[in-house]
């Protein structure tokens, strides 16, 4: 049954995570950055679900975790976007380069 090795799922998760990471750290558009973060969360979810099936102690718990993660991710996306829009209203930009208030 398990002719797809565990490492293949993990590798897929890793690749997606890396893409998400790269996107999150390099893109200038704040929306894309938020989406990249969603992608990273997804990669993590793949891991959770994989281990819930093929892990050393398979159980439903992994899927539950993934569920929670999705819920929180949805909340995060909403808040993130809200902040983005608030910021946009103030500064008229979504370019992340110009958000440097931390410096001051």
């Amino acid at each position: 049954m398990s002719n797809v090795p565990v490492s293949a799922f993990l590798a897929l998760a890793l690749i997606l995570f890396c893409i998400g990471l790269y996107g999150a750290l390099s893109k200038r558009n704040t929306v894309i950055v938020l989406i990249s973060i969603e992608l990273m969360l997804n990669a993590v979810n793949i891991n959770l679900v994989t281990f819930s099936k093929y892990g050393p102690a398979p159980s439903i718990n992994g899927q539950i975790f993934a569920l929670f993660a999705i819920a929180i991710a949805a909340a995060e996306a909403a808040i993130g976007l809200a902040i983005l829009i608030a910021l946009y209203n103030n500064r008229k930009t979504v370019n992340i380069d110009e958000m440097d208030q931390l410096k001051h």
Partner: protein, 620 residues
């Protein structure tokens, strides 16, 4: 002889007393100096007399402990030491007296006497030293005395340079001595002369080591005795007051090199190469300095070059295994050269110039000085019946017997030159008419004449203690009980004496013809061989050569190092500074306030750490 250690202490006392109380004593300082030196002289004479009957006395105690090593200090009275004690204290005593007249009126009169005391102390200490280390210590102190006295007229730039030059050039030699001494110490385990000689005799030291150390010690002697190639300081040292020239740069300190070779003679005798080196350097210096002496115009410089030349003679004698000849000439030379210098001082005192071109016709005006100067000149020229004749003859015999005929003929030629330039000097100063107008030429005071008279007597008489005619007392006594020093008297062919006489007489004759009869033009050399004349006049350009090579060499090295200092060392520091500053600037640039950048950097750091862990296997 147990009290011989007191001898150097009298002059030291004089030094200290005059240093502290000199300002109050003013010219009375002279008496303190004279009395204390007299005490030394008296004790020295007593020691010498005692040494005729008693064996060598040596006493030592520990000076410095280095872990298990014990270095000693003490004193020794053997034949050579006893003889040197008398020579040194006698000349010093006479110079003390003489200076009272010569230095009269100088504002630093007490200082002068203090320095004289210091020098005499060091010289006597040197003579009494029973080991190389102590010799070295006093060797340097003697150099200090010489340095201080050359630079006595400190406000003259030339005196400053002369003093500096003297100190540094002799120090170059001293380093040779130091190395040789330390090498010998690790070979033989001792600085003591007798222990070193014993192990050399037993063959405990390899042949090459003996040669090496002997030559290194000889380098020390070369520096002190103004032998080629370290001779240039000695003529310059004439910047010092004339009594100093007589004491230090004629009779005692410069002879210390010869004394050192004589004192370590068994070491040299064990190595043919070392002896050869000594004799070749000696012979070369003798003729070399004599040739320069021919054209010099400064009365003291002529005498200085003659000193260099005569010291070369002594070295030649020692190198030819003529221990007695060397020491004998050392003694006679001390007397007649001191006489010549004192007489020259008396002349300078009278006419206030040192240029012999400006003198002339002084024979009648200086009733006492002139004959005394003549005695000295005759003695140094090797005219029979004067002391120089006997000692020079001994040297020639030794050179002939030792086998190197080329050196022998060199020595004979040098003798000819000596006779020629000494009489050139004499005739130019005393004969004929005054070449410039001299006011107030007056004979020197008695305090100056008396020492000269004593030395005059000695310049004649001292030769007779070691003659082929009446017996070689000195020689026999010197080598008594020590076979390593060679024979007391070396038999040579009788014609050598005749040749020597002829050579010196012909030199005198030539000088007479040129400078008195004027049957040969004075400008003969200038017109015939201007190049040779110029080379001689400029002392073979040795000073210039040293200036170009060593002085500029040292400067160049220094500048090169400064280059390193500014660019390498400081550059290194600058690099570090710039690096740190750049780091700081980059760091503050990274603080852009952009969360994304922060994240990126933090992440890259994490990645680097992970890679490191993965590679070192610390992962999992």
């Amino acid at each position: 002889m147990e009290n011989a250690w007191l001898i150097p202490l009298f002059p030291l006392l004089s030094f200290l007393v005059l240093l502290i109380a000199g300002r109050r004593l003013r010219e009375a300082s002279a008496y303190a100096g004279i009395l204390l030196t007299l005490a030394s002289l008296a004790m020295s004479v007593y020691m010498l007399a005692e040494r005729f009957t008693k064996p060598t006395f040596k006493s030592e105690s520990v000076w410095l402990t280095i872990g298990d090593l014990k270095l000693t200090a003490g004193f020794e009275v053997n034949q050579l030491n006893a003889l040197m004690l008398v020579i040194v204290s006698l000349v010093s005593f006479l110079v003390h007296i003489y200076s009272r007249g010569y230095m009269h009126g100088d504002e630093r009169f007490p200082v002068f006497y203090a320095y004289l005391g210091l020098f005499t102390f060091a010289m006597l200490g040197l003579v009494l030293s029973p080991n190389l280390l102590q010799t070295y210590i006093f060797w340097e102190l003697v150099g200090l005395g010489s340095f201080l006295l050359i630079g006595f007229y400190f406000y003259k730039e030339s005196a400053k340079h002369a003093a500096q030059k003297a100190f540094i050039m002799t120090r170059i030699g001293d380093v040779g001595l130091l190395i040789g001494m330390i090498l010998l110490f690790w070979q033989t385990g001792s600085f003591e002369y007798d222990e070193i000689f014993a192990s050399v005799k037993e063959g405990a030291v390899s042949e090459t080591m003996i040669t090496l150390t002997a030559i290194l010690i000889f380098i020390g002697a070369v520096g002190k005795s103004g032998q080629f190639p370290l001779h240039t300081w000695l003529p310059d040292a004439m910047e010092g007051p004339t009594p100093v020239s007589a004491l230090i740069h004629a009779a005692t300190m410069v002879a210390a090199g010869v004394y050192l070779v004589a004192a370590t003679f068994p070491l040299f005798a064990a190595s043919e190469t070392a002896l050869m080196t000594v004799s070749v350097i000696g012979a070369f210096t003798a003729i070399f300095a004599a040739s320069i002496g021919i054209v010099q115009k400064d009365i003291k410089r002529v005498l200085a070059y003659s000193t260099v030349s005569q010291l070369g003679y002594m070295m030649l004698a020692l190198g030819s295994a003529g221990y007695v000849a060397g020491v004998f000439h050392l003694m006679t030379h001390a007397f007649f050269k001191a006489l010549l210098f004192l007489a020259a001082g008396s002349v300078i005192h009278a006419v206030h110039t040192q240029d012999i071109e400006k003198m002339g016709g002084l024979w009648k005006k200086l009733r006492f000085t002139a004959p005394l100067f003549l005695i000295g000149t005759l003695a140094i020229s090797g005219v029979p019946l004067f002391s120089g004749f006997f000692s020079k003859d001994e040297i020639l015999v030794a050179a002939w017997v030792h086998g190197n005929k080329a050196l022998f003929w060199l020595a004979v030629t040098a003798a000819f030159f000596t006779a020629f330039y000494m009489f050139r000097l004499f005739f130019m100063v005393f004969a004929g008419e005054a070449r410039t107008h001299m006011k107030n030429v007056h004979e020197s005071p008695g305090s100056m004449i008396f020492p000269m008279a004593v030395l005059g007597v000695l310049a004649i008489a001292s030769g007779y203690i070691n003659t082929p005619w009446f017996g070689t007392f000195l020689g026999d006594w010197l080598v008594e009980g020590n076979s390593a020093l060679g024979h007391g008297h070396v038999e040579g062919p009788a014609w050598i004496m005749i040749v020597a006489t002829l050579v010196s007489l012909s030199g005198i004759l030539l000088a007479y013809l040129i400078y008195v009869k004027r049957s040969i033009s004075r400008d003969w050399l200038i017109s015939r061989a201007p190049l040779t004349y110029n080379v001689l006049r400029n002392k073979y350009y040795i000073d210039e050569f040293y200036g170009m090579t060593f002085v500029y060499g040292a400067k160049a090295v220094s500048l090169f190092l400064r280059f390193i200092e500014t660019f390498l060392v400081e550059g290194l520091v600058k690099t570090v500074t710039v690096f740190v500053q750049t780091l700081g600037k980059t760091g503050s640039k990274i603080q852009s306030g952009q969360v994304q950048t922060y994240g990126a950097i933090a992440f890259v750091g994490l990645a680097v750490l992970m890679v490191i862990f993965a590679l070192t296997g610390g992962y999992l």
